[in-house]
Amino acid sequence: MVEPVNSSLGKMLLEEVSPVVMVLCTPLVEETFLKNGLSFVETLKPFCNFSNIDVPVRTSGDQLYRLKKFTLRLFNAADIRQPNVEVAKQRLEHVITQAGEKVFHDLESDPPQITDILSNSESEIAPTWFQYYNKELIRTLSFSDHEAFDHPVACLLVVSSKDEDPLNKFVDLFNTNRLPSLLNDGVMDPKILKHFLLVHDNQDATTERLTSKVLSEMRSTFGNNECNLLCTNSSKEGNVEHQANPWASFKSSVPAEKLGCALTGDDIGEIKELMQEFASRHIIPYMEQKVRDLNQQISATRKGLRNQIKNLWWRKGKDDIPDSTKGSIYTFSSTESQIRILGDYAFMLHDYELALSSYRLISTDYKLDKAWKHYAGVQEMMGLAYFISDQSIKEAEYCMENASSTYMKLGKSGFQNATRCGLWWAEMLKARDQYKEAASVYFRICGEEPLHAAVMLEQASYCFVLTKPAMLHKYGFHLVLSGDHYKICDQVNHAIRTYRSAISVYESTTWSHIKDHVYFHIGQWYAIVGMNDVAVRNMLRVLDCGNQSKSTQEIFLRDFFDIVKKTGMKHEVVGLRLPIISMSSLQVIYEDHRTYASQASALVEESIWQSLEDDIIPSLNSGKSNWLELQSKLLPKKYKESNVCVVGESVKLDMEFRNPLLISTSVTSVSLICELTENSDDLKLEKETSSLSLGTEHNQVTTSGFSSFTLSEVDFTLGGGEKKLVRLTVTPSEEGILKIVGVRWELSGSIVGVHYFQSVPTKAKTNKAKRKNKLTPTDALKFLVIKSLPRLEGSVDHLPDKLYAGDLRYLVLELKNNSESPIKNLKMKISHPRFVNPESHEEELTPGFPDCLKKGPEQNTVQRETSRTSVFAFPKDVSLQGDRSLRWPLWLRAAIPGTISLYFTIYYEMENVSSIMKYRTLRMHYSLQVLPSLETSFEITPSPSRLQEFLVRMDIVNRANSDSFEIHQLSTVGCRWGISLLQPVDTILPSKSILPGQGLSCFFMIKDCRKPGTEEEKTTSILPSQTDIKLITQDDDEKLFDIVNSPLASFHESERSCHGTSDQLSPNTVDFILISRLAKSSNPSAEQDLPKILSHHSCHNRIRSSIPLSWSLDGPKTMYHDFSTSFCEIKLKMVIRNTSDGFLSVSINTIDGLPDAAAPTPSSGNLSGWRYVPAITEEMKLTSDVMGSRLGKPPPSMESSPPFIWSGSSSTKVQIQPLSRTEIPLQISVFSPGVYNLCSYTLTWELSEHENALSSTSSGICQGYPCYLTVLQSE
């Protein structure tokens, strides 16, 4: 902490609270000095400050002390009056305006950093003109009537030697009429020290003799000591230059070198001496004397107990006097004024003890008198005296506070005084490092006048920085307040200055509301002072004002564009925040050896493609020695790291633009910024022509035709808060290294935004995720451009996006190669072979679809080769070149309902083009929506009577929502099973079509056409027509579909392989294909997209029955026998078939005796015995219960059936392997002719999972079938 005397307040007090010398001079004196560009007072002013006057002083006490620093204040008599308020105000305003002009050139620089502010000391932070302003402010209050330190102590009378009758002039000068009114009306003591000065102008040589005469006359008249001669203007030419011009700091309006041009060093020395002598020999002793006198006088009247009481009593009596006259109740001669003068003189002579005691004495008097202004003035002085004498801090503060609040109480008239008091108080607090308190003092004296308030607030804000720790929030706030006040009084420069400093506080915070306000206004103000580019720079910060209200945003944008227009040029702004680019949305789509047929296919995840292409692309990692190894050697390592793209093929970048505002913005000319570097030395391998190394030449972005790449431009409008995904492309037209550097756009046609990708760390996610993992985003946007290559374009024609399950379509894959160089070795792989099946030949279908699938007149029974590899290789001779296109037929069958993504990848190789890329793949992606249609299920049960025949129940349900279907044809697959109808077609489906949701069951018969004896797959060829039945009645001419030759067969194969879990070709399964079509009238609108036929495949249908075995009893139906000779023995054979997966053990028990007693099969009613045997038809065998209902009443049985006996073993037990059969010989003996029902046996079976297993899983007993044998008497 500095000593109070050396603090800024101490210096200020030394300057301001110092003796006043009234100067009275004649016009000729002024004239003499004006030759130097200075008035008389101004000439003397620099020599009134004495830093080491060293005068011994003794005031009230006996102690002598020496004055070191001393100052005199010189005023012309005319100036000794209270300044006009208006003039003072104008002067202050002038000071500020001037300062504002000075700072103007600083405004262009960047705002200061907060750390710089904090590290600066006070004098560096606050502008220097504050001190000057404060001084001026205090000066406006000089010569007030309630204070005594402005009372003139002495009077300097100056007369020029050129004046006529100088002695009379001296007398005239001190004529009371010409004295200031303050002296005349009794506020100030007119009886003051007088000093007489004769000025002699050396340039005026004629008067020299006269001068000495006048001087001697003066001395005799006014006294020897009181008279002086001042010779001046010794320089004849008037061009003396002063090295350190003493006047420069006092008068700045005139160039410094002009000042004092006629004064030589001797003259200055003379002036200096004069003033020194005047101060030390006259003023100080005079004041000393006066202090002593007053002190004695006051001691006599006021000190001591008696005087105190007297004083009190006397004051009481004065209570009646109204307050209104308080201004004039104290004249200089009143006791109170005398005490005040004593105090002030003592203060000026640095005897603070005496000053304090006098002030204390007087302050109670004033308080009692309710002379508040005087009271406050005294309190103020007390506070200062306490401070400067380094006494109690608390007392000092208390006094200042008291003074300040008392002044405030006086209302408007006291405010100015309160301001001065506040300034002193604040300085006092600053000197004691109480900056926070100082700030609050500044805040108190803000007042209502905006300019004044602005300055005070700004000073307060600097105090907040200086507090430890710095209160930056308040600093910012006060600066903003101050700036607003400056703006109100049109001090724009100052407003900008304060806001600039405030920016440093808010810059790094997230208080966007405040930040926007500051940036917006500073931008506006910069525009006012004409610095539009700086204005734009600041305004840019508020463009991203999404949190503001819509109207605010509109104002922001409108003003911004106004200013931008004013600048008249297109600014290019890096990092423009409108619109916002979302870097996470950045997607790079480019084609190296992978090419894409459509946008959709490019967005498919790379891993899907990779897994699809696994077996068709030659792997780079394979250790095999093939042509690939050569390639990897040729390829420099750095190229393997970077992405490859091809000349003439565009690299696409998807990115998302987001409008943070609520109002819509138009963004135009969005394009990429790219660099194409030609790396001739590295590419020599394949580019022999550019063998001359040209180094690296840069090709910055231009849209001119000479550019080595072309860019796309996009215009769009973003609504409030809208996001838009924008695709930008760059197409290189030369080889080299292409770098995508950034993106640029124009905002509302007036400002260009630039965004560089490098500045954003990581997160450039592309669909090449796998490759990008190890690459930096910069690398991801770097491409090796290679020479143009053929690029295959492909599409699948007429691919519907919505179709029914089972729908069979004929499609064409169209491939096109636009370049001249041929491609070869085409291969294709399809992700869903179940759905799509390429035709093996390039041929157009002659009869058209679907007729081509129907059976032609000539039956071509050649089995299609169904070699099912997942890769379809086009024939070797297929090669594409030029504009030729290849149309390859494809079959599509919607196998299962759901949403299906179909991926096609076509591999092709180029001939002798590039060593970097030998092959490319074309990727196509289509998605299909497959709706459910007919659902079929089959149940096959063995026929009860015939081993080779089976009953099929087909259940169809229409699962479609709206469409109805007609069924057309049912076929069995393969040559083994023949199928036949059980009912006429009309009875199965009277309504012809199956409505949505409708279910239907119908029955068929299938027959195993394989020779029963042979287990080998040696099938008898049955007529192919036996495998199909037409289920449609009306169009008799319509042919059946050929399921053997058509693509249906290959689709069926895929269905089979899908359904069959383990490909154990179980011989006892049946595959069915049901062919249906859409009912004609159901949907007339979508004519072109109607499905023509639908096929429904049902595979691996097992023959199902309730018992795991089936058997039949074979033997002759009719026998002739001569019973006269012997009884008849008939050999029978029982064939038992194990239909289950388990091991079956069967025991056959024959029952002799009355067949009536044997229980017949309960389901078939009482059928035992002799009866009429109807012709066996297929209908009869439909189901047993059908027969039961028909034959409810059995035919009349014979009276008694001739007995027969089982003549073989009565019980046989056999083991049957799964799905195999065995034959057991049986024998009966018949004794008389007749018809015998051979049903009197039972089969007891046990089923177990394993051979010889003890535990059986199931068991049961079967009754024998009725089986009739007719035995006739032979002739």
Binding site: P469, K474, F477, W511, I514
Partner: protein, 140 residues
């Protein structure tokens, strides 16, 4: 009447600020809240001066502005709650209970697993409950 409440993160970043006045004085209130951070910092750094005990969250009257009184509250996670009221005659107990409820609402809001700590509170439920709390306190 409470004119403004704010939640300020421990890096003096605003997490939530809501004014309840009709007039367009959001900027002023933002400034007031922003300034009061200095006072909070001061209080927290010199606990002896403030008179409150160390472990109390309620910081009391921060400073009286022209027409407002500003109260502060500091949670254990150094999150600051600031309340600006235009009532000049307020009992501390009322303010205390206000802050307790406000704190509870804040805890509910940041307990949301989708809330990112240190980011602005955007929960609609939070702002509703704050509005409810504010409207239930008129102090007079």
């Amino acid at each position: 009447m409470i004119v403004c409440v704010a939640v300020v993160g421990h890096q003096n970043n605003p997490l939530y600020i809501q004014s309840f006045t009709e007039a367009e004085d959001a900027l002023k209130l933002h400034h007031i809240v922003h300034c009061s951070l200095d006072v909070i910092d001061e209080r927290v750094n010199n606990p002896s001066k403030s008179g409150t005990t160390m472990n109390e969250a309620f910081l009391g009257l921060l400073y009286p502005a022209l027409n407002y009184k500003v109260y502060g509250y500091l949670t254990n996670t150094k999150v600051k709650f600031i309340m600006v009221t235009s009532d000049l005659d307020v009992r501390d107990t009322d303010v205390r209970s206000f802050f307790r409820k406000f704190h509870a609402a804040y805890v509910d809001a940041v307990s949301n697993p989708f809330h990112v700590p240190g980011k602005k509170i955007t929960s609609r439920t939070f702002s509703e409950s704050v509005t409810n709390i504010v409207s239930s306190y008129s102090f007079n």
